[in-house]
C-alpha cells in the first residue's frame, strides 16, 4: 500500500464509466452471424477446390440472386422473432401479394399501382396478424398458421386458379426490376443490400428498434417504461409482411409469371435462415446482418450439393442439419458464458 499506486476517486470513476466488457471486434466475435459467416467462407474455399464452376461470376450471380428473396423476408422475420413471435404466413402472403400484383397490372394499371396494391395487400395481412396478436393476445403461432391457410386460399380464389403472365403496359419494366442487374449485381441483391443497411441503422439508432429489442427482452418492463407495446408489435408484423410483399414483387418480376402457388413452404426456409443468422426464438436478439448471412448459407448449401454432384434429394437434409447445428452452437456458446 503505497501512495503512488493510489488513484483519485475521480479517475477511478472515469475508468469505470468508459470501461466496456469488450472491444467492437471482440463483440463481433461473439455473435452468431460472425461464425455463420466463417462457415460460409469455409464452404466456399472447399467448393472452389471441388468445382471449377463454383468461383465463376455466373454462379455467384445466381447464388446471390437466389438468396436475395429469402434474405429480404428474413430481415422482416428477424424483427418478429426478436419480439418472441413467429410469422408462418409469409409464404402464403407471397402468393397473395404476387397474385394481387399480377391482377392489377394485367388489368392495365401500370407498375405504380401494381406495387401499391402488392404492398397494400401485404400490409393488411400484417395488420390483421398484428392486431390479433397484440390486442386480442392470441398466440402468434396460431394466428399466423390460420393466416397461412387463409391467405393462400384467397390467392386461389381471386386468381381463379389461373397463371398470370400478362402484366400490362409496364411488363418490361416489371420484369427488369426483378430479373435484371445493375453493375453486374442482380437488382434483388441491391434491394437486399440497401435494406440490410437500413435495418442495421434501425436496430442500432432508431427508437423503434430499441423498443422492439426491449419488448423481446421483457415486455412487462417495456410496458411499465411507457412504451406502446401493442402498437410496436402490430408494426413489427406489418413490417414483416411488407418485406414478404416486396420479395413477392421482385420474384414475380424475375419469373415473368405468377401462380397462386408462389412462395409455397417458403416460410420454413425464411424462419430457418433467420435462426441460422442468430435470431433466438425466445426473443430479444436481432442482427441485421444475420438475415442475409443465414439466407446465404442455405443457398450455398443447395448450390454446393448441386455442383458437387450430390443427389438434390439431400438438400433439405443438409439445410435441416445446419439449422440444428446453428442452434446448438448458440447454446454451447451461451453455456460457456454463464
Amino acid at each position: 500500500m503505497t501512495d503512488t499506486t493510489q488513484k483519485s476517486h475521480a479517475e477511478i470513476d472515469e475508468s469505470i464509466t468508459s470501461r466496456q466488457e469488450m472491444s467492437g471486434l471482440q463483440a463481433a466475435l461473439k455473435t452468431q452471424p460472425f461464425w455463420v459467416f466463417i462457415a460460409l467462407i469455409a464452404i466456399g474455399v472447399v467448393m472452389s477446390f471441388i468445382s471449377d464452376v463454383f468461383l465463376t461470376e455466373r454462379n455467384f450471380f445466381n447464388i446471390t440472386r437466389n438468396f436475395a428473396f429469402f434474405g429480404i423476408m428474413a430481415l422482416g422475420m428477424s424483427a418478429v422473432i426478436c419480439t418472441a413471435g413467429i410469422d408462418l404466413s409469409v409464404g402464403s402472403l407471397m402468393g397473395l401479394a404476387g397474385i394481387v400484383t399480377g391482377l392489377v397490372m394485367q388489368a392495365g394499371y401500370g407498375i405504380g399501382f401494381g406495387f401499391i396494391a402488392c404492398m397494400g395487400a401485404a400490409a393488411i395481412v400484417g395488420l390483421i396478424n398484428g392486431i390479433l396478436i397484440a390486442y386480442v393476445r392470441m398466440a402468434p403461432f396460431v394466428v399466423t398458421l390460420g393466416m397461412l391457410a387463409m391467405a393462400r386460399s384467397i390467392a386461389m380464389v381471386i386468381s381463379n386458379n389461373k397463371m398470370i403472365y400478362d402484366f400490362g403496359p409496364d411488363q418490361e419494366l416489371f420484369e427488369w426490376i426483378g430479373g435484371e442487374s445493375v453493375f453486374g449485381v442482380p437488382n434483388p441483391v441491391w434491394v437486399l443490400m440497401i435494406l440490410t443497411v437500413v435495418f442495421w441503422w434501425v436496430w442500432r439508432y432508431s427508437t423503434w428498434g430499441r423498443w422492439v429489442i426491449a419488448i423481446g427482452g421483457n415486455a412487462d418492463a417495456a410496458k411499465l417504461a411507457g412504451i406502446p407495446v401493442e402498437r410496436v408489435i402490430v408494426s413489427v408484423y406489418v413490417l414483416c409482411s411488407c418485406c414478404a410483399g416486396l420479395a413477392a414483387f421482385l420474384l414475380v418480376g424475375w419469373f415473368g409469371s405468377v401462380t397462386n402457388a408462389l412462395g409455397l413452404t417458403y416460410e420454413l426456409n425464411v424462419i430457418a435462415a433467420t435462426v441460422i443468422g442468430g435470431a433466438n426464438l425466445m426473443g430479444g436478439v436481432v442482427y441485421a446482418f444475420g438475415a442475409p448471412i443465414g439466407a446465404a448459407l442455405m443457398e450455398l448449401i443447395r448450390n454446393s450439393l448441386l455442383l458437387a454432384g450430390i443427389d438434390a434429394l439431400w438438400q433439405q437434409f443438409f439445410v435441416g442439419l445446419f439449422l440444428i447445428l446453428a442452434v446448438l452452437l448458440e447454446q454451447i456458446r451461451n453455456r460457456g458464458r454463464s
Binding site: 464509466t17 432508431s206 429489442i213 423481446g216 427482452g217 410496458k223 417504461a225
Partner: protein, 246 residues
C-alpha cells in the same frame, strides 16, 4: 398542503379485500416508511399510487387536486416514479439503455432523429456516480449483480425530477455497502425536496431514513407515527398484531 393525499382507498379483488379505507398523506421532502407483514397490502397500495390499477373506492389527490391513474405513465406524468420490487429491467439491454427506456435521448439530422448513444452513456454514468455505484453504463443487465441492477432501477427514477419516489424493497437483495448508498440516496432525495415512500422489511433502514412510519395489517392502516415517537419494538408489535393499534 400535502403533496400526496389518499382518502379511504379501498381495493377488492372479487371477495378479497386487499385494502380497506386507507388514509395517507405525504408532504414534500418527507420520507414515509410503509411496513407490514406479507399480504398486508403494501404492494397493492404502491401499485395503486403508481397507476398499475385503479382503487375500487377512495380518492387520490396530488397537491390538492384529484387524479385518476389509468396506467403507469399517468402517474409518471404527475411526478411519481416507482422502483419496482422485481426492478422491471430488460436483461438483453445495456444499463444505459434501461435507464433511458421509453425516454431515449435523440439527436436530429434533418428530418431523421436517431438515438444519441454518447449522451445517454454519459448521463447514465453521471447518475451511477451520484449513486456511488460501480455500474458500467455499457454492460448488459444480464451480467450484473443484484446491487448493480438496483442502481439501474433507481437511476431510472432520477431521470425526470419526480415529486415522489416509491421504492418497493430497494434494499432487499444488495450488499451492505450498497444498502448504505441507497439510504444515502434517499437522504439526498429528501434534502432536495422529494418525497419518498419506502416499503421495506428491514426495520433499521426505515428508522434510519424515514420521518414517519405507517403500518398496514390485513388491509387496514393500524398506525401512522413519527419515527421519533415510536420504537422498532412497537412497530414489530403493530406488524404482527401483538399491539392492536396506535
Amino acid at each position: 398542503m400535502s403533496l400526496l393525499q389518499l382518502e379511504g382507498v379501498t381495493k377488492s379483488f372479487g371477495a378479497i379485500h386487499a385494502l380497506q379505507g386507507i388514509d395517507l398523506t405525504i408532504s414534500e421532502g418527507e420520507a414515509v416508511g410503509l411496513m407490514g407483514d406479507n399480504g398486508a397490502g403494501k404492494s397493492t397500495l404502491m401499485r395503486i399510487i403508481a397507476g398499475n390499477f385503479l382503487p375500487t373506492a377512495g380518492k387520490i389527490r396530488i397537491n390538492g387536486s384529484e387524479v385518476h391513474f389509468n396506467k403507469p405513465v399517468d402517474a409518471r406524468n404527475n411526478g411519481i416514479e416507482i422502483v419496482y420490487q422485481d426492478l422491471a429491467l430488460c436483461n438483453n439491454l445495456t444499463a444505459a439503455a434501461n435507464v433511458f427506456l421509453g425516454r431515449e435521448i435523440r439527436k436530429k439530422f434533418g428530418p431523421i432523429s436517431y438515438l444519441d448513444h454518447k449522451a445517454m452513456f454519459e448521463k447514465a454514468a453521471e447518475l451511477f456516480r451520484e449513486l456511488k455505484s460501480e455500474t458500467r453504463p455499457r454492460d448488459l443487465v444480464k451480467q450484473m449483480s443484484g446491487g448493480q441492477r438496483q442502481a439501474v432501477a433507481i437511476a431510472r427514477t432520477r431521470l425526470s425530477d419526480p415529486k415522489l419516489v416509491l421504492m418497493d424493497e430497494p434494499t432487499a437483495a444488495i450488499s451492505v455497502r450498497q444498502v448504505a448508498e441507497v439510504l444515502n440516496l434517499i437522504h439526498r432525495l429528501k434534502d432536495s425536496g422529494h418525497a419518498v415512500i419506502l416499503v421495506s422489511h428491514r426495520m433499521p433502514d426505515v428508522f434510519e431514513v424515514c420521518d414517519r412510519v405507517s403500518v398496514l395489517r390485513r388491509g387496514t392502516k393500524v398506525a401512522d407515527k413519527q419515527i421519533s415517537e415510536t420504537s422498532p419494538e412497537e412497530v414489530t408489535g403493530l406488524i404482527t398484531g401483538a399491539i392492536e393499534n396506535a
